[in-house]
Each structure stands twice: as C-alpha cells, then as structure tokens.
Symmetry: C2
Subunit: 278 residues, 2 copies
C-alpha cells in the first residue's frame, strides 16, 4: 500500500490520528522536502527526504515493493493542495499498487481564516519571484478574470528551493543555497509593477487585500488587511506568506470579519463604501 | 479560550493530534450536529450537540466563561469550509474571548482527489433540493461564469436537517424528520432541468462531470467520472455526495488522472477530443 499523507499546515501535531497510524504501519516513510518549513523530528520513524527531483526521477524506488509492504509519502498541507502528486499516483496506478490518501488542511481551504468565504474565491494563482530577466505575468489575467466576476483571488507565493549559485552551477557542484520564501511585500511590489505595465485595471494600489503569514500556527499566525499600498510596508515576519486580493462583491459578514484584521479602519470603511458592493 | 476545531472528512480518526489535545483541555465540548454523518462515540468527552439554531440563538451560552476556561466547538471538515462559523467567531471577538482555530481537511481542498487540479476550479456552488414550488437556479449563472473561463465547478449538494412534517409543524411539535442527503443523481437531474429552461449552454448532457461519494473514507470512498447523462444512472451508494462539473480547459495530467475514474473510456476519449482544450 502507498499511503499519501497530508501533514497539515504548521507543525508535527497537525497530522491526523489516521495519518499517524498509517505511518506507524509503514516500512519506509518519505517526506516531501523543501516545499515548506516543517518539523524535523517526528513520528518515531526514520524519514527519507524526497525532493521534487527525486519524486520525478526515482519514483520507482519510492514505490519499490509497495504492492507488498506499506510505504508512506508525507506531504505538507493536503496531498492534493497546491503541489499535486498526480505523477506519483499515476505511476503507482500503472504498477497496480493500491493507494490510500489521508487528507489534511491546506492553504486552499484554511485561507477561510482571513474572514472571506470560500464560495467567493475564483481561481487560485501562484506568483513567482521575478529575476532581472524573467518577469512572467500571465497570472495577471487570472486575477482580472476573478475580479471581473467580483471574486477573491488566493495568491500562493513562490518558494525557491535547491537553487545553485552561479559558481557552484558552473563547477557542477551539487551545493544548494538556502531556500528563499517570497514575502507578501515582494508579491505586492511585483503586482503593482505588472499593473503599471499592463494598465488594464485588474486592481489598483487601493484595492483591498489580506496578508496571511504562518497560517495554522497557534502562536505565530498573523493576518493583516488593508489596501495593497498599505500592506506594502507592513512587516509580516518569517515565512510562509500568502496574499488574498479581495473581490469587489463582498458579503456583509465578510466585511465585518475582515475588519478585525485591517491596519486602518477609517481607510477601510471609506474604500469599502466607495469601491465594494455589499 | 474558544477552540474551533475541524474534524475532517470521514470519521473520528480524522482529527489532528493538535485538535485532540485541545479537546482534552476543554471543560465543555460542542459538536456541530446534523451537517454531516459522523462518529457518535469519540474523544472521551461528553459532547453537547449544537445545531444551527442553537449556534444562532444561544451563542452566548456556548461562549459562557470561555474567557476563563477552555471551550471547544467541533465542526465537520474545516472550521472555514462550506459552512462558516463567522457569526460565532465575531460574537466571541465582541466578548473579547480568545479564539484558536485548528484546521482540517474539507471538501474544498480534498476534492483534488478526483484528479483535477485545485488551481483550475472557479467558484464553488451549492445546489439545493428542489421542492414542487421552490426551484431556485441562481447557481446556474455561477457555473456559466466558471465554464466561460474553462474552469471546473465544485457543486456541494444539499443536506436537509431538522425538517418537520406538515402535521408536526401545524401542531407545533418539535419532532424532526430524519436528515435527507441530496444524491449525485438528483443533482444532475436538477441541473439538466435548469439547462432545459435557461438554454444558455452553460453545460449539456454530454458535459464531463465527476461524482464523488464519501470522500476521505479509506474503505468507502467512490469516484466515478463520465458525462452528466452517464452519471445520471450510476449508483453512488450512501451519502455524502458531491459533484464536479469539468471545465473545458484541462491539463493533460488531469485527463490522465480522471481517466482512471471514467465509466466508459471510449466515450470519454471521444468527448475530450471533441469538446475539451488540452
């Protein structure tokens, strides 16, 4: 049996009882590495770190004998969250290996903690970290499609893992830089730059947004709401960060709830009154 | 402290370790009743059933002393899933009661198990059970908006709880009928009736869809895919049921994965080739 087990959002205690029982039944336990900052010690099992490259190129090693023994593949969030594991699952199906998925919370549903209703979200997008010569902006069209319908947009922010310095790359040394996590501030900066270039009014610096940091952590979670311009200079602390761009069709309960998080209530009330349909 | 704790999708072992620890620290534990079919015995605590009416009219009883002692409110799925608990949380904030949310899986993210990528979903809708004189269809416009963008639509199917028979209602007897759960077949029947009336081609009887029953159950989960017309006569067994209407912009991995669930592979391949953009 191949168990694909979601670890949830924040730390080792976010695993479900069902997930923990499954892990204890397994001979090999892989942990999808680098996609988030999680626990090291956990679950009284030796963990084999499996990065994206390993999952893609050595999936048959991961699946070895999984028709006879139990093997677990642990993923941060839910197995079908932002990163899907469709390729590994399809490979297992080809090999007739039975699969069980054990779900957990992910940003895709827990984002409701920001006070907006999940019903009113459109497509989720990913924002990549710009480099000096790579500044893709196709997600701008997705935000525009959502906002044309009055819908909210969940923006997942880039995580750079297994990057090599130019020197290490040139010398063929498999030495990797520490992971880099995009901040809410960087995301907003890029968003405003794209709007500046595209000028199609998908949003403006006065569009309301919600920054969410360390979602699911009982002690470290931080949510702040305001205009994109206001949030640009707010400090959200360490990763992970996510951003929601608020659609202009809001339910009154959404306004009431979101208001607990706003950095400037007067400005918020003024903008809601001016730009949002309640 | 008020803990709002997600129970996950299927049974009592879907709770997280963090959620279980929180429950054990609580003096009173409420269970949101009737919104799903879950466990009865659990967690070594006496449970107080709290239906929608109680949450709305007696929220201050639920919150009594929660500034001094721990109180848990358990909800099926995630606290911010389909049913939000914004009203209870806002009331707690008004009373300056500290709140901790413990997330879990919900249909809103676990729907990825059907093989479609969460990125490619638009707005989620709810389909209510028609009665002879109440046949609302505003969700038709939402499906159309999603499909105009090529996006998938998650349809949550109605659950009728605390219904009274006309006789009991007339006599003022608070006796309730057993809960009723909309089936995938009923949902499709209604969808086709609405398209028949509206004739705006939001979808047709040949549109691809995926029926999902008892999502998250290791032994009872069932997923079948096909045209709306094909799924109309498929048996999905006991509740809970959900339905996904597939958008016509599909990733090749989505096609490959979904194909494992189709009831008729030839028909599926023919329709994908004819109507879908891969």
């Amino acid at each position: 049996m191949l168990y694909i087990i979601g670890l949830g959002l924040s730390d080792e205690k976010d695993i479900t009882m069902k997930g923990l029982e499954a892990i204890k039944s397994c001979e090999r336990v892989y942990l999808e590495a680098y996609t988030s900052i999680l626990m090291e010690k956990l679950y009284e099992k030796e963990l084999i770190l499996a990065d994206r490259e390993m999952v893609e190129s050595q999936s048959d090693d991961i699946l070895l004998n999984a028709d006879k023994i139990n093997v677990a593949f642990l993923v941060v969030g839910d197995p079908f969250g932002a990163t899907t594991h469709a390729d590994l699952i399809i490979r297992a199906k080809e090999l007739s290996i039975p699969i069980q998925t054990i779900h957990n919370a992910s940003i895709m549903n827990a984002v409701g903690a920001c006070g907006l209703q999940l019903y009113n979200f459109g497509q989720t997008i990913s924002i990549p970290l710009f480099t000096s010569n790579w500044r893709p902006d196709s997600f701008y069209d997705r935000i525009k499609e959502n906002r044309n319908l009055g819908l909210h947009t969940l923006c997942l922010l880039d995580i750079k893992v297994k990057e090599q310095s130019i020197e290490n790359l040139a010398r063929g040394r498999k030495i990797y830089e520490p992971p880099r996590y995009m901040t809410i501030n960087q995301a907003i900066e890029q968003l405003l730059e794209i709007e500046e270039n595209r000028k199609q009014n998908a949003y403006t610096s006065e569009t309301l947004a919600i920054g969410i940091a360390r979602l699911g952590s009982l002690t470290e979670q931080l949510i702040k709401a305001g205009t994109l311009n206001q949030l640009l200079s707010e400090d959200f602390g360490p990763p992970l960060h996510s951003l929601v761009i608020v659609g202009n069709k809001m339910h009154i309960l959404e306004v009431d709830y979101m208001r607990y998080f706003v950095v400037d209530k007067n400005k918020f009330d003024e903008i809601v009154k001016r730009d949002y349909k309640i």
